[in-house]
Amino acid sequence: MKRALLVLAVAALYVLHQDFWFWRTPYPVFGVIPVGLFYHACFSVAASLLMWLLVTHAWPHHLEREVEGADAEGGDES
């Protein structure tokens, strides 16, 4: 169920990229940023949130376990 919702969220965001509703509108948000640019800036933030959801709820732990089993040292360098 959770996986299906995430797939749906990815598909929805992909569809929302095609924002034909702001196609011909030059309206400046806050008087400065054209709404078409503002929308896609918000889209980037939404994409980041979606990635957070994916990483939190659909992380491939099985791959991590397989490999970490063979290479158990942790740490974070470079």
């Binding site: 095609q18 889209f43 990635m51």
Partner: protein, 540 residues
């Protein structure tokens, strides 16, 4: 000359990073040189992977495209990448990393050879990937020569600028290998991020704020379209969402995925990738659009607008050569340099010039990737390592770096830049169309080497066909496309001012779909790898 001094200081720092990385290397093995010993931590992995993907297009190309086409540039190139690239890194990059860690893979071709039990088909994939990558290296040297010449006010000639950039990149890749390249990319990405913020502040203050400029652009019918997408077809806009599929098919990106020390390092990369894109692209696109309000103050920008107007009004009466020359004059790739020269104090223009230099020097990862692929997929595969040992293999990789850079420099001095711009334009489509290979290898048990070969040959054929088509049919001026083939009044194939259109879409759409279809159909018709191999890749 002051900005050039800053740029030279930057180049010296970059060489020092490469030498420092060399001294930090932990051995002479192939994994250490080509993959930094699979040891990159979260911070370096995020910034270097992102930096590897950001070429001159990110700063110069984005603002130049926005100057010409308006705000649509961000939706076309940035926001779609902000969704598709981290998604593919999440789905494919993590799996490639795990396979590399488990079985010691260093290049994507090694995965293909093992997964599909093939040898020479892997060599064909290597050859197609290599041919599609080479133009990036050449254009990187050309961009370096042009930028160094521009920031020094012509004091450093193009040939010398290109030579200096080629030497610098060659030095830190030669000495530092992947570790040096990753550290330099991290440093460069930090410069890009700072660049966007400072540039928008300085130019905004110089222009007396942006509110008036936006109002003026919006109220003038000749420029109001720059704030909308009314001149772009929705089909074209949709097509662009296929282009970021190229990222995960680029060998340098896949090889970078193998450098992470632990899988957890992918988490922050995936989450912050769209935000890094936002921080770099949004200011550059916005400034590119705003440049259209500076024609009264900056003569070079006025000339570009005039060339654009001439092209739109008289383009149809011009010869293809005249049209190309006028299009070249109207190109906005250097508008951000003009804005900085006009609005930023000299010392700040120098620092920002170094940021631009960092952007145009992003060919390092491609050079290293090609060297890695040559050393692993060719030299080692055909018995070189067995006969001469691993140390000689690494030395061969290093020598390949020198030979490749010298050849790229020689070509950069002689060939016109536009040829390579076209090549890069279609290299993106080509790599996007190669993405079904890795997807099928990792997620479909039924995929076969013959399916992979069919997809690869299709990509080679399609990229060549589009390049030949665009050389045969010159670009029309901005406006309606020149229809080359139609059936019953429906446009099938057309030449547009910016490329080619297939049934209204960019060529990348049919290229990806046909590639995926060939992988599916040919795999269905041919024999699968052994059960043991399938079990190795798909065991639960």
């Amino acid at each position: 000359m002051i900005p050039a001094i800053f740029v030279f200081v930057y180049l010296a720092v970059v060489v020092y990073i490469g030498v420092f990385a060399f001294r930090r290397s932990k051995g002479h093995g192939a994994e250490d040189f080509f993959l930094a010993g699979r040891s990159l931590g979260t911070f370096v992995f995020l910034l270097s992977l992102f930096g590897t993907n950001m070429t001159a297009v990110a700063i110069l190309g984005s603002s130049g495209n926005a100057f010409t086409n308006g705000i649509v540039t961000y939706g076309l190139m940035a926001s779609s990448s902000g969704l598709v690239i981290p998604l593919t890194i999440f789905l494919i990059g993590t799996r490639v990393w795990a396979l590399g860690k488990k079985y010691g893979f260093i290049t994507p071709v090694q995965i293909f050879r093992d997964r599909w039990e093939c040898g020479h088909i892997g060599t064909v994939i290597f050859a197609v990937q290599a041919v599609l990558l080479v133009p990036y290296i050449i254009i990187g040297i050309m961009g370096g020569g042009t930028t160094l010449s521009a920031v020094s006010g012509g004091f450093v000639p193009y040939w010398l600028g290109g030579a200096v950039v080629a030497m610098v990149v060659m030095s830190y890749v030669f000495f530092g290998g992947m570790r040096g390249t990753a550290w330099v990319n991290t440093f460069q990405t930090l410069l890009f991020l700072v660049f966007g913020v400072i540039a928008i502040g300085v130019i905004g203050s110089g222009m007396g704020g942006f509110r008036g400029a936006v109002e003026a652009l919006g109220s003038n019918p000749a420029t109001s379209w720059l704030l909308t997408r009314e001149r772009i077809s929705p089909y074209y806009f949709f097509s662009y969402t296929f282009i970021p599929l190229s990222a995960i098919a680029f060998p340098h990106i896949l090889i970078f995925c193998l450098t992470a020390k632990r899988m957890v390092q992918f988490k922050k990369t995936v989450i912050f990738y769209p935000l890094c894109i936002l921080l770099i692209w949004a200011p550059c696109v916005f400034l590119g659009v705003m440049a259209n309000r500076t024609a009264g103050e900056i003569p070079a920008i006025r000339e570009k607008q005039e060339a654009r107007r001439v092209l739109a009004q008289q383009g149809r009466q011009m010869t293809p050569e005249q049209r190309e020359a006028t299009r070249e004059q109207a190109t906005g790739d250097d508008v951000i340099l003009h804005l900085l020269q006009h609005y930023a104090p000299l010392w700040l223009a120098g620092i920002l010039g170094a940021g631009i230099m960092a952007a145009v020097m992003a060919s390092d990862s491609q050079i290293l990737a090609l060297s890695t692929m040559f050393a692993e997929d060719f030299f080692a595969f055909y018995g070189g390592r067995r006969r001469f040992g691993e140390r000689v293999q690494v030395q061969t990789g290093r020598i390949f770096v020198i030979v490749l850079t010298v050849l790229a420099y020689a070509v950069a001095l002689r060939a016109p830049e536009t040829i390579f711009e076209i090549a890069i334009q279609y290299a993106f489509s080509g790599f996007a169309a190669l993405s079904p290979l890795m997807i099928a290898a990792l997620f479909w048990r039924g995929s076969t080497k013959w399916g992979a070969l069919a997809s690869t040959l299709w990509v080679a054929l399609a990229v060549t066909a589009v390049a030949v088509f665009q050389q045969t049919y010159p670009a029309p001026p901005p406006g309606p496309p020149a229809v080359v083939w139609s059936i019953g009044g429906t446009e099938i194939l057309a030449r547009t001012s910016s490329g080619t259109s297939v049934y209204g879409f960019m060529p990348v759409v049919p290229m990806v779909l046909v590639s995926a279809l060939l992988m599916f159909v040919v795999s269905k018709l041919t024999r699968k790898p052994s059960a043991a191999t399938i079990e190795k890749y798909f065991s639960k």
